[in-house]
Structures are given as C-alpha cells and as structure tokens.
C-alpha cells in the first residue's frame, strides 16, 4: 500500500528524530515519523526496574560479536522516545579537542566542523528543553557560553562524600549538567530525586522526547506511526534520489511512504543496517556507501566503575540516576601516560537494588544477603567514561539470518584497542585511590566479567567528502542529497562525554540547515 507523499519521513522517534520532527513540522513541513516500537505515554512509565525493561528491545535485531561486545539491549530504546526515554540525562558536551584529534595528535580524523560550530546549538538546546548546571564552573575547561537556564541539582551524601578524595587527587569536581529540572521549567515540574529516571520519568521533570521535541512536533502536526518497522529506503531508477521508505505497519502489512526527504534516525547500529539493506544495482554496496565506510568505525565508551563502602549512611536511595558531580580534568587526550584518549570523571548517583547486587556480582547466597543490607545504606560509586578510538574493523554488517520481516539481522563487531583498554585500567586505578582518599572503609574496582560499555557511536561518520566519510557535518549524504542521517552514528570520534546533549545539538543544527535549504534540497 502506498501512502500520500510527505515532505519528510523520519525513521526513528528517539532523540535525533524528535528534534528534526519538531524543527521541520514547525517550519510547516509535512512530517511522518516511523517508529518500530510502541507509542509510549508517560503513564506507562512504572517505577520499577523490572517493568522498566519494557522500553528496551527484546531480542533486538543486532547480534553482538568481538572481544568487547557493546551492551546493546540495555542501552537501546524501543518505542517513541527511543533510548532517550530511559536515558540518564547526563549533559556534558564534547570539548574542542574532540573535533581536532587528527590535527592535534595525528590519530583518527578531524570533524569537518569545530566546537564553535556546535556551541550555539548546545546553548539553544539548553534553552529549549532545560538544563540544570553551573556553566561558569565548567568554563575552567571549555570556552565560555550561555549560563544554563536552571541552577544545579541538589547533591546528596553519596556524591559529596567523594569530594575530599577528588581534591586530594587534584581533580576539581563541579555540578554535573543534566537534562532535568532543578526547578519548574516551562510548565514541567522540578525533580523529586527518587532515582527512577532510568525507567522513564512520568512527571516530565526529565527532558525526554515525549515532553520536549516529540511533543512539540506532534503539536505542530507531525504524525507518528508506532509499531512500524522500516526495512528499506527506496530510490529512483537512476539511483540519484531517494523516494521514500518501505515499512511494515502495526498490522504487519507492507506499506510504502513516499517523501521528498528521508532522514535516518534509528541509532548507530540500525542506520547502517538500513543503508546496507537498501542496496540496488546503482548502489551495490548499499546506499551512500561508495566509500565502503557505512557500518564502520563503531565506538562505545568503556566505563570504569569504582565502588566504595562507607561507615556512614550515604543516602544512596536519594537523587537521580544522573551524576551529581563531574570533571573534565582528565579530558586531555594525553592525561594518562600510555593510554591515549579522553576520560570523563563522575561521582554520586542514586542506586536501586539491582545496582547494589551488581556492584558485587561475585557474591551469592548468605554473603549476598548480608552485603545487600550493608550496601543499602553505605555504598556509593565513581564512574569514569573512557574514549574509544575509531577502528575500521569495529563494524556493523548484515548476516544471513533474517528478522520477522525478512530483513537481514546485523551483527555489531566490537573490540577495544590497546589505548581504550589502557585508559580503562588507568581510570580504575585512579578511582580506587580517590575512593580510599575519601575515607571508604572498603573500595574496589568493577573488574569482574566483561568490560562495561556505554553509548554507541559511529557507523555513518561525517567528514569532508565521500572519500573519508558517509555524510557531511549536517548529516546529508555525500552521494544522495535528499538522504540524511542523524544521531550518534555521524560522530567520527567519540570523545568521553555522554553523547545525548551533542546528539540534540547536532540534530538542531542539521534540522535548521535542512529547513533553510529546503528549496535546493527538493529540486
């Protein structure tokens, strides 16, 4: 079945797709957003870790391989809001050095834009959806910008208790910027600090897409088609333009949605999967893939977790899942000798019972029961995110296995190189020193099992031309002008900061570009 042609069809209703939908619908464009998961409402967001799993994929279409597979299902979204429905809303930003890794260190590649190109959009996003934090305090490490629209969030003993140890280690900590309301903002209430952010905030204190961009997009007329799965991007006979998408609707009927522009906003693994599955005789390697780079340079942060048990009650049930304090003091790429890459240091966050149990995965039986009682009062943590380096062999590729719609599953192959591994170890060692200097009765590094991973980036990286990248800095395909890609898949390097603030900022920049260039784009 073919639907009436629209201006833009957006694949994915997560962070990046929602920004585009909002900007373009407000600009008067007819927008259809196609989302594979349900159309969640705030009332669906039950305060339970068990029930909270519903907003994540079940048996996602991505198979995991490599020495350090990415924790895909736990990180991904399923349904409107995408992963940003259950994200932690940590809003650090990339720093100028992230955009110039090749120029400054002769590694990886530069972004085709600088920090200054993105900075106005960080400020704009903060004004639009609300960020709490202390910009002045951060500016000891980054160029000055606008103040955040809300003061920092409250802090709790689970974060404050580490400040002495950080000071002893020469690491200044400042209030962490978060996409949460420390005070009422644009009619959305202030946070209650009950720590249920990660299963979805139903009061709207956390800036998820439902209460920000996607809500705005719907008000401006954008249509969202939930439980609908896009399987191919369609092109004209010459292969010079995309004409729409093929998808299976909520009744699993095959449909076609024609559009003047197609935007892929389905996260870093799905975007390349769709491009690769849309190969034609004119694009034998997949759409936008003349360079052969679609699916390559997949990156994921490693997480160095340090746990500390104190004698006092640290109120670890209070607060948010986002962090209370952060530091860019170890962000310089050469901060740790022999371990190239940035580190983003954080401390203090609310814990749920699964967090308590996971902090000592080796314990079971009566020892676990005893530990849970102590951890419920006395446990707190430090987490340091380490940069991954873009490697060609870390990739998404199609497999011979198929999903329920006959679309090939993808496999995501990821292994850390020497630098990210060395960085993880260095951050664990430093975290342990800080915890001990903070007066912890016991402190240990989370080294057992697989290296924890967080965030997914790369796969359709931006660059100056088709020789070294898939899209330009706005997300426009180098080869097909009305095919665009949004989200962390366009990051050519990962930095160490949580990516969503940058995803919002780049999407705002790209969407405004698309709207302003509409005539040229569609003729």
């Amino acid at each position: 079945m073919t639907n009436e042609k629209v201006d833009v069809v957006i694949v994915g209703a997560g962070a990046s797709g929602s920004v585009y939908a909002s900007v373009l619908a407000k600009a008067g464009k007819k927008v259809v957003v196609i989302e594979s998961g349900p159309d969640w409402e705030l009332s669906d967001l039950i305060s339970s870790e068990i029930w909270g799993r519903r907003v994540k994929p079940a048996g996602g279409p991505i198979l995991l391989e490599g020495k350090n597979p990415m924790g895909y299902a736990n990180q991904a979204g399923w349904g409107v809001g995408g992963a940003a429905l259950h994200y932690f809303a940590n809003f650090p930003r990339l720093l100028p050095t992230d955009f110039k890794v090749k120029s400054e260190h002769n590694r990886a590649q530069d972004w085709p834009i600088s920090y200054q190109d993105v900075a106005p959009f960080y400020d704009k996003v903060a004004r639009e959806i609300g960020v709490s934090g202390d910009a002045k305090a951060e500016e000891r490490w980054r160029p000055a910008g606008e103040a955040y629209p809300m003061p920092p969030m409250k802090t709790f003993r689970s974060g404050n208790i580490f400040l002495k140890g950080f000071e002893a280690s020469g690491i200044p900590m400042v209030p962490a910027p978060v996409g949460m309301n420390s005070v009422e903002f644009k009619g959305r209430p202030a946070c209650l600090y009950d720590g249920w952010c990660h299963v979805g905030c139903p009061i709207g204190a956390l800036a998820n897409p439902l209460v920000t961009y996607l809500g705005d997009a719907r008000k401006a007329g954008a249509e969202v088609r939930a439980l609908s799965t896009v399987t191919r991007i369609l092109t004209n006979q010459a292969g010079t333009r995309v004409t729409g998408v093929e998808y299976y609707d909520d009744k699993q009927q095959k449909q076609t949605q024609e559009a003047s522009v197609v935007l892929l906003a389905a996260w870093s693994a799905q975007n390349p999967r769709l491009l690769l599955n849309s190969a034609t005789d004119k694009h034998a390697k997949g759409l936008g893939n003349a360079s052969g780079l679609v699916g390559h340079f997949m990156m994921t942060h490693n997480v160095a977790s340090t746990w500390a048990m104190f004698d006092e009650d640290v109120q670890n049930h209070m607060g948010t899942i986002a962090v209370q304090f952060m530091s860019y003091e170890r962000y310089a790429k050469t901060s740790h000798p022999g371990a190239f890459g940035s580190s983003f240091v954080t401390a203090g966050f609310a814990l749920k019972t699964s967090d308590l149990a996971n902090s000592r995965g080796d314990l079971f039986g009566p020892e676990l029961a005893d530990y849970m009682k102590r951890a419920a009062r006395n446990l707190a943590g430090i987490k340091t995110f380490g940069e991954d380096q873009p490697e060609m062999e870390n990739r998404v590729e199609l497999t011979s296995a198929k999903d329920e719609f006959g679309m090939p599953l993808a496999k995501l192959i990821h292994s850390y190189g020497q630098d990210p591994l060395a960085l993880w170890n260095a951050n664990l060692e430093e975290g342990l020193k800080i915890a001990k200097a903070s007066g912890a009765k016991e402190a240990w590094s989370a080294r057992g099992g697989a290296i924890p991973t967080s965030h997914l980036m790369g796969g359709t990286i931006m660059g100056a031309g088709a020789g070294d990248s898939v899209v330009d800095s706005y997300g426009q395909s180098h080869e097909i002008p009305n095919l665009w890609v949004a989200g962390p898949s366009i990051f050519p390097t990962a930095g160490a900061s949580n990516p969503t603030f940058t995803i919002f900022a780049l999407s705002q920049r790209g969407a405004e570009r698309m709207a302003s260039q509409w005539a040229a784009l569609t003729n």
Partner: protein, 186 residues
C-alpha cells in the same frame, strides 16, 4: 497507543502484576503468591521448576519462596517483547525458553558428574559449590552459553524476585518512592 494488531502488547500500570491461570481463569498476583497457591506451571515441567527454585535459592536466599520458578515460567509464556526477564537485557535472541531449558540440562549433567545426582536433590553445600563453579566457568563439559553467563542471568532473576519488588525494598529498609507504583506491590 497505536493499534497493536497481532502483537497484543501489554501496556499500562493496570497490568503491573503477572497474570497466572487458575482453574481456567487468569488471576493477577505476584509470583510468590502463585507459588504459595500451587499455580501450575505453563511451560516448565515439575523438575525444571524444582531445579530453578534450587538454583535461585542457592543464589539469593528467599528466591524459592518469592516464586522465582513461577516468575520465569510466566514470563516465558508471554511474547518476547512483553517479557520482563533479564535475558532481554543480556541481548539474548528469543525464544528465551531455550536458554533456560539448556541451562537446566547443563546444570543437571554437571551435577551428576560431580555429585551423582540432580542439582535439585544435592545437599545445600554441594549446590553452593556447584554455583560457585558456574560463576567461575569451571564446570567440566558444560554445554550451551558459558556457565558464568547462566550464573549471571539466573542470579539476576533471583535478585529480581527477592529484591526488585516493593517488598524487597522494604525488607532492606529502602524507601521505594514510586511515581507510578507497580500494581500488587511487585
């Protein structure tokens, strides 16, 4: 919410507890209550249920009474996208029942080699030793997913039923503070 068609998706706080079949009717109750009332398993056989209870109790005290086998059984009986099991987060591909069947078989096989009997029939000290070997991937001849992965998944299930509920928080003295509480306090 959009028309969900054949997927029949469970959604909404009113379905915040598990539906068990009792006398042909579906009744909403917590997993521990289902066990206490002797609700028949939907997919597991009695031996599989007994083994899951023994594994769960070894991993997390009170998992048996909290209904770990009924929880897993009920969750395996619903479509994968409705399942709340940790295997979902571990990125396993459906059907999830395959993992549990394979793990239970591997546990019994290993238990026979080590102790000459099914895991569920082994003394508590042997069960503990076996689980500790699972944790370290030290079960000779183990087949299927690595034993340490099975340990992690089953431990997470046991943590769910003992500590993931409102009662579990209460038992630890942790204020639950829900925005939208799960129905039936679970």
């Amino acid at each position: 919410m959009a028309n969900i068609g054949r997927r029949g998706f469970v959604k909404g706080a009113t379905l915040g507890a598990l539906a068990f079949t009792v006398g042909g009717a579906e009744i909403i109750m917590a997993a521990g209550e289902a066990r206490a009332r002797g609700v028949p398993f939907r997919l597991l056989d009695a031996h599989q249920g007994e083994t899951l209870e023994a594994l769960g109790e070894t991993l997390v005290p009170q998992a048996r009474e909290s209904g770990i086998a009924h929880f897993i059984d009920q969750q395996l009986s619903v479509p994968p996208h409705e399942s709340l099991l940790q295997v979902r987060i571990f990125n396993f591909r459906p059907p999830f029942a395959e993992f549990y069947r394979t793990a239970i078989a591997a546990v019994d096989e290993g238990s026979h080699k080590l102790f000459g009997r099914d895991f569920a029939q082994a003394p508590a000290a042997d069960q503990r030793e076996f689980v500790d070997r699972m944790r370290q991937n030290k079960i000779e001849g183990w087949t299927g997913r690595p034993a340490a992965i099975a340990y992690a998944v089953l431990r997470a299930d046991a943590v769910d039923v003992v500590y993931g509920t409102m009662e579990g928080y209460e038992a630890l003295g942790i204020p639950y503070m829900p925005h939208i509480p799960p129905e039936k306090r679970w």
